[in-house]
Symmetry: C2
Subunit: 99 residues, 2 copies
């Protein structure tokens, strides 16, 4: 499996709107096992996104899907930046579909 842990920053006052866009964009995408969007309670513009994919190629391919491209285009103006982007190798746990 392939995982990502990312911290994204919204433009001031735009976090809820950005969270909404991120949630819309993540219906069942091919190869996506988990995609969780969270607010940072200590930082009013920060969003944490934790993702699990079957493999890195599935994640990469998702970025080219028309719905995802459209969501990225709508989100871009209210994204202030990316501060953390960590790749991981998920090995299991609770809350993932059976491999």
């Amino acid at each position: 499996m392939y995982g990502l842990i990312g911290k994204m920053r919204a433009q001031p006052g735009k976090r809820d709107e950005l969270v909404g866009l991120l949630r819309e964009a993540t219906g069942a995408l091919p190869g996506c096992l988990s995609y969780i969007v969270a607010r940072d309670p200590a930082d009013t513009t920060a969003i944490w996104i934790t993702e699990v994919w079957t493999d890195a190629d599935s994640h990469k391919a998702s970025l080219t899907l028309p719905d995802v491209q459209a969501a990225i285009a709508r989100a871009r103006p209210i994204i202030a930046g990316f501060e953390v982007q960590i790749e991981t190798e998920p090995v299991g746990g609770f809350g993932l579909p059976e491999a």
Copy 2:
């Protein structure tokens, strides 16, 4: 919801053993919605754990369960330390049970 993103470090050569203990400890615990254990591909002793709970109290209560206490006791000798512990407020996404 209540989330945690943590980076734990295993004693050298003990990461796989620690990952195994972490996975064992996380059958369906009350209030646990997601608990994913991942290796850090860039750091041979590091483990990332991402958790989602219904609320902070459920997480806190889980630490007192006998099975969890037993797993903690077995893991402690091979844990070298904790480097990151971020609290989050998950708001949704894909891969969580319906609220």
